[in-house]
């Protein structure tokens, strides 16, 4: 039985029909054409090299957990590979200065600034994905309320997954809670301790206190490894 199942799955994979498989069968691809490194070592190690192209993944977590930092790293890594990046910014939160400070080539970024209309942001993402040619396409839904997120029908995300299927694009949703991912995508959950992490602050006295940086604690919820 197991052998027959493995054979069927291998046949599906050979014909690129494996996107609906839910088994964690080994996928040994290390080719850059199929995996996009995120630029975050911990995440890349957990994912076995990076995020799979042609799939919808998500980055979720509470405020200050590092959604934007992880996206900027992914975008910087993609830009360094010669790819172009699109960000659909639902609430106009992106900060180009800090992104450039993190090493992102802004000339390779298409920034779409929305004013809080998640429906329109989703349409914009659909347009970008249908145009094709982008390495990373991210939809920032971090500040969209949970009820508004739940109003999107599930077919929306299935349609998006279908649009990028087989392409070189990595579609990423940035959200505060789980939204959606395609069968081959992953959920990168970022944890944030309730109390501030001592290692994030430098200085011993009040006068020389300064913020050293945020610690990203990624946890891969669903990885097809």
């Amino acid at each position: 039985m197991t052998a027959a199942r493995a054979e069927i799955e291998s046949l599906l994979r050979a014909r690129r029909l494996d996107v609906t498989l839910t088994t964690a069968a080994a996928w040994r691809g290390t080719d850059e054409d199929r995996i996009a490194a995120t630029g975050c070592h911990e995440v890349d190690v957990a994912l076995g090299g990076g995020v799979r192209r042609g799939h919808l993944s998500e980055v979720i977590g509470p405020r200050s957990a590092g959604h934007s930092a992880l996206f900027v790293r992914m975008a910087a890594a993609a830009a360094a590979r010669g790819e172009v990046v699109a960000l659909i910014d639902t609430h106009d939160r992106f900060d180009p200065l800090s992104a450039q400070a993190a090493g992102l080539d802004l000339a390779r970024v298409l920034w779409i600034r929305e004013t809080g209309n998640a429906d329109r942001a989703l349409k914009a993402m659909n347009l970008v994905l249908q145009a094709g040619g982008f390495g990373v396409v991210a939809l920032d839904l971090v500040d969209v309320s949970a009820p508004a997120l739940r109003q999107f029908p599930h077919t929306t995300w299935m349609r998006i997954a279908r649009v990028i299927e087989g392409s070189v694009t990595v579609a990423v949703l940035l959200a505060s809670e789980h939204v959606a991912r395609s069968p081959g995508g992953v959920t990168m959950a970022l944890d944030r301790p309730s109390a501030h992490a001592a290692e994030e602050w430098a200085g011993t006295t009040a006068r020389d206190r300064r913020l050293r940086g945020l610690t990203i604690r990624p946890r891969v919820v669903s990885a097809r490894r």
Binding site: S68, A101, R113
Partner: protein, 523 residues
């Protein structure tokens, strides 16, 4: 020698003769009692050839084989009004249509053509040997196309002189000097006077009087004179005339870029109000327009759409394209998207589309580089996004040269293949660690801050979902100010604070008003 590109060139010889020349010529016509003819036609065509001495090497101008080695520098052709009979003089002055037809004939053979004074047209026919055969065959083709006088020679001057001197077709590709040997000196005089008359600063030509007194009658006799002695007697003009008598060109061929309009128009039987039926009209207009652009190896860098409406007004729209493109489907989509964002006020009666041509793009794709959206795809995408979210709300961010906190601007998207090294430095007010990114609130959110021992102790905020509460950690202040010389100025103290829930924010206090704001959340 640098070969100028096609688009760098501008016609150096005016198409219209100076007013004084026109006046004198018309006076001659009046004196002879010449009547305006009812029908005019192209009068003469001639051809010529090699670049001037010391000019382009044959390999530099890309000459095809087929001619003799001497002729391999390129073969050119011209049309010429030779005899200054009243009829031809009238034609030269008034019948622009004949010259235009002659130019059209020349353009059918080569894109490198140049108009010369008196209605002459010189064109480079190098490379046509593989298509049309040898020089004689090319001349025959030109004659059959409608040119009355055709001459082919290694230099422009030789061809001009041959065309003026002989009727019909005359080919001299082997020995230009021998071909010019028996040409009367008066032909060269006419050529030089025509050039001087069309020049911006005409110079008097006196050398021919002296040459006539010396008893010279042909170009061969002039070319055979000792150069130094001729220069000693006639100066620079003598040397110039002798060089011309030998067929030497004073300058290389300067192709006429030509001004061709790519325009299509359609008058509708019934007015159109909706975009959907208009798309079919656009397709009908853009297909031949794209075909014409392709034939001319051009792309549209801008589209001018003119819609005549039922209220008798004209609704113009101009669409600037990021790169020259000629795909009719892309152009139609862009026009429709533009009209979707800027609809006309009334139904449409007449549709006119004109394209500004630009040299076509030559793109070398690579198997080793990541594909990026093509300019056509990008232009369509940006038009769609502009219609969806607004044209000013999508693009590539550019950091401005300022220390202002949120100093950036959106630039048009133009992805190139070049990878740039980003050093990770910023001109921002508070350079932050690379492990952090700020999520900005635009505009900053006003908060109430309780200050304890000179530091923020508690942050109260009225807006739901925003971070606030007791401050666990605070770092600062970092003072920033600027722009006092202009309307946009700032003067503030910045703080980094961490709340109990784990959120880390950037606060600032406006030092002029004392008001506190949350600028963003570190994420």
């Amino acid at each position: 020698m640098r070969i100028p590109s096609y688009d760098d060139l501008t016609p150096s010889i005016p198409d219209v003769l100076p007013n004084e020349v026109l006046a004198s010529a018309e006076a001659v016509l009046r004196q002879t009692g010449f009547q305006e003819p009812s029908n005019q036609s192209p009068i003469a065509v001639a051809a010529a050839g090699l670049p001037p001495e010391g000019g382009s090497h044959p390999s530099e101008v890309g000459v095809a084989s087929g001619f003799s080695r001497k002729a391999a520098g390129g073969v050119r052709l011209l049309s010429e009004v030779v005899d200054r009979s009243p009829r031809e003089l009238y034609a030269a002055l008034h019948d622009n249509g004949a010259i235009d037809r002659l130019v059209a004939i020349a353009r059918d053979f080569s894109p490198r053509i140049e108009r010369h004074p008196g209605g002459s047209v010189v064109l480079d026919v190098s490379g046509l040997t593989r298509l049309l055969g040898d020089a004689a065959s090319i001349a025959d083709h030109l004659a059959r196309a409608g040119a009355a006088r055709v001459g082919i020679a290694p230099t422009q001057t030789t061809a001009l002189l041959l065309a003026r001197a002989y009727e019909g077709v005359h080919v001299a590709v082997d020995d230009a000097a021998a071909a010019l040997c028996n040409v009367p000196l008066g032909v060269l005089q006419q050529l030089v006077e025509d050039r001087e008359a069309a020049a911006v600063r005409p110079r008097p030509v006196r050398g021919f009087d002296v040459l006539g007194r010396w008893g010279l009658t042909t170009l061969g006799e002039l070319a055979a004179l000792p150069a130094d002695a001729l220069s000693a007697r006639l100066g620079a003009e003598g040397s110039r005339l002798q060089r011309l008598a030998g067929g030497g060109d004073p300058r290389p061929l300067v192709p006429d870029p030509g001004v061709r309009r790519f325009i299509e128009s359609c008058e509708l039987e019934w007015p159109i109000e909706l975009l959907e039926p208009l798309s079919f009209v656009f397709a009908r207009l853009l297909d031949p327009l794209a075909e014409a652009l392709e034939r001319a190896d051009r792309g549209a860098i801008a589209l001018h759409l003119q819609l005549r409406l039922t209220d008798r007004t004209v609704y113009p729209r101009t669409l600037a394209l990021p790169v020259p493109m000629r795909d009719p489907r892309v152009l139609r989509t862009l026009l429709l998207l533009d009209l979707e964002s800027h609809p006309p006020a009334a139904a449409i009666d007449v549709v006119t589309i004109e394209a500004d041509p630009a040299p076509g793009r030559v793109v070398q794709y690579s198997l080793l580089e990541r594909p990026v959206p093509s300019p056509e795809t990008l232009a369509t995408l940006m038009a769609r996004l502009g219609a969806l979210v607004g044209e000013t709300r999508c693009g590539s961010p550019e950091i401005l040269d300022t220390h202002q906190s949120d100093g950036w601007a959106l630039a048009p998207v133009a992805f190139d293949d070049r990878l740039r090294a980003i050093d990770g430095t910023t001109t921002g007010p508070a350079s932050m660690p690379s492990s952090m990114a700020l999520r900005r609130f635009r505009p900053p959110v006003a908060v109430r801050v309780t200050v304890e021992r000179g530091r923020p102790g508690r942050v109260a905020i009225d807006r739901r979902g925003m971070p606030g509460g007791p401050v666990q950690e605070a770092a600062g202040p970092w003072r920033s100010s600027g722009g006092w010389w202009q309307s946009v100025r700032w003067n503030r103290d910045e703080w980094d604070v961490a709340f109990e829930g784990g959120a880390v924010c950037r606060l600032f206090q406006d030092r002029e008003t004392g008001q506190w704001f949350v600028e963003g959340v570190y994420d």
